[in-house]
Amino acid sequence: MAYPGNGPRAGRTTGRQRNSLLNNASKTPPPVVGPSSAINYGQQTAAAQMTLSERLATLKAQQGLIAGQFRMDRAQVKADAIGSMAGAVNSALDRGILNSSIDYGQRAGVLSERASGIQAAVQAKLAGKLGLRTERIGAFNDYYNQLFAIQSAKSAEQQEMATQAFLNDLVMRLGDEQGPPGRGPGGRTAQTYKGSNLDEMLGTAAREGGGTAAKTGPNQAQKQLTQLIAPFINFLPESVRRELIGRLQNALSMGLLGNLAGTSGGVGPGRGLR
């Protein structure tokens, strides 16, 4: 059996089916979001980028401030040291103890304070720089978090749209298998199935199909369903696949899909989807 690949399909003379799901999926880019959503995402991304830029600019300015503050602190320490040294010497002079051990001790104290003051300024500068680095990392983290959130939302929306498209395609193909070419079960096209979501579409399809699931039992029907649609959804991500199967099974158990595995009016052996 060539189908569901892209090879020739039984009963068809048209050769390769160019409009198959896999073929379409392989050639058609994933569904894009709508214009309004795209604009919204773009705005969010731009806002995130703007925020990042603003924060980086602020950090840059703060870096300059820190450097400037360090230079000022250092200059202040030096100026203070000069003043303190002059004060120490003047004090020693006033006290008449110039060049005494007391004077030298006071001068050494000034130099020590100068060294410790400069060290404190250096520490403050390093601490400031460290804070800037932390803030910079935080800014980028925030930016990427926002960006990933936007992308994630967009991807989710795209995924939902892809799932919807797939489901539409699947229903259409199920119709193709059970009815005349171009028609779904009961001769309906995909567009004739009412409903805006999968459950509704599946429910519509099941009602058209006769609802024979109760006759064969849900387990058997689920197995058949799984076997039936497995070739079409193998390329889908596991989570999507499980979601899809789960919904179909729910529809099946509710008899909404009819007797997909039955022998009359449905998808039967020899013709059915396997």
């Binding site: 005494s100 051990s101 007391i102 001790g105």
Partner: protein, 661 residues
Amino acid sequence: MPVITAPNLVEQSDFGGGWAPDIDSAATDANILPDMMNLLPDNGGSDALVTRKGFKRVREELAGLSTHYVKHIFPYRNATSNYLICILSSDAAAANNVRLYAIDLNDLSVARIDTAGVTWANPDRPHWGMTIQAVYYGGSPGNEVYSWDGSTWDATANTGTWDTLVDSVAPGSGEVARDFAFKGNETVTYSGDQYTPARGIRFPAWEAGQHYESGERVSYKTAIGGETYWRSYRAIKASDSVEPGIASGWQAYWQKVRLPLPVNDDGETSAKWYFVPIAPGSSVAQWHANRFWIRYDGQGDKSRVLYSAPTHPEKGQDVPDVVFDMTDFQPGNDIKGPGGGWIPVNDGRQEGVVEAMWSYGQYLIIFKRQATWVLSGNSEETFTLRRLSRHVGAVSTSAVVELNGLVYFLSDDGLYVTDGTAVEPVPGNDRVRLTLTARIDLMHAEGAAGNLREPDVFTWDDMVWFTLPCDDTGVTNKAETWVYSPKTQAFYRTDLPALAVATARHKGVRKFFFSAPTTYSLRDLVYQYDHVSAVDGSGFETDDTGVDTYAGTSAIAWYATSAWLPFGTAPEQRRIRRTWAIVKGVMTHTIKTYRDWSTTEVSSEARAVTSTFPTHIEGEWVPDARAIQLRISSTKSPAALYGFAVDTQPRRVRYHTGTTN
């Protein structure tokens, strides 16, 4: 009573002007004595002059040495007795050139206290001596500070027992290795100087089985290379039981922590060590503000003073005493507390070396030869130094004394006084300044010639006394002691042969001990002024002759020459009827008369006084005169001079009209 000038009578009974050798004797006030000897103001407050007391040796010779003289006497008192510490010197460069003896005043026994056989440096230089916490300390230039506590002599009281720092060799006895785990309070000797670590490198002891992270520091005392002492290490790699310094491959886990050498190859002191000064050999020291102060000889131009750490409470005592450590001159820090240091007494002008110091209340007065400084404050935070005077300083270590709240000191310009805020000559200084300066100059010249004898200023009987021994051949009285009375603001001269003086209380009585220069004493003798004993009775009015063995005394001669008493500016003579004096003393008194400003004696009358009461003695008639001068004297003591009088009569006016009469 002041001078009374009646129409025909001149009376003078006020001698408050004292001795005034520098004033033109023809122009002095009547209460001044141009020349005098051995008369002092009466302490009872009268205007009379009384003879000085005599003296007698405290005991026979100290060591029986004719080669040594008693250079200094310092009082010392400990818990058991009172002593006189006598420093003998021969001024020669030889063994035993300086000897220290202690006279126990309880029994007058004497014992040599220093180590025999030592050749002292600078034997002619002055010593300082003082008692600090019942221990006698002393020193002199070029010699270590010494001490004596009544039984034990310490020739190096300023150095202590410090280990020598050695590097790369096994430390022997009295040595400490460089990689020793110093606590920070040690003092070590290195290259002849002392140092203390600026910080400690003693860490918690390493323990086997403990886990040590990189960066942790430990100290470990164990035998390495046969040497057991504390060493310190820093972990450079985590370990659990790698014994530092011992385990195989321990270097992979531990790094030695050790201090650098105190002095690098350039001779600079490491920042991780403090240079520790020690009390130098000096002749100037003082106790002030709970610290010991000493001139920093050997550093600079002898214009620095070094001070010790202050006394501190005794450790480990419930009720601690304060203790003093003569070896503790190292700078203070946050752990140790206040320490020692030094202060230059110099503002760029040299002004001589520091000659003396005196603790005066909140002030330490520092005397250079040509300047006076005062240090106020009691701690390094409050020490303030300022100069009180230029050109006026002290002439010797012992040229300063305090009396009745003022500090008197002998300078090159005479006797000065200060209250810590200003320096002034004592009132009356002008009357003796030239004579005093000349004598000090002669003493200084004698010192330069190798016969140093310095003035010793002291107080006695509420007066300032100062010795002026001078061996110069041109000096008549080689031993003189001058006296200044703040009450009369006048000087008096005695021939008391004092060289070194000590006044000390003994058995509740303040006593005055002194030694004599070699021009008077033939041996090493110590005398007591106004010697009182059971044998001598209530006083001593004669002088010990200073011969080898006590052989009696000699009488104290005295004299007083009055100012010239002129009878007016006009060359008008008056008839001199009689002269009198009121004296006291059972002896023969002599009245001499001079006329018309001539030194030629015109009359001399000896009067024997047998009464113990004040007595008039009468002089002789002399020719008519325009001015008259009296000289009252005697060859013995005790005596008192109350006043004198001259009775005149007018005579026919007979003017001389020449350029001179």
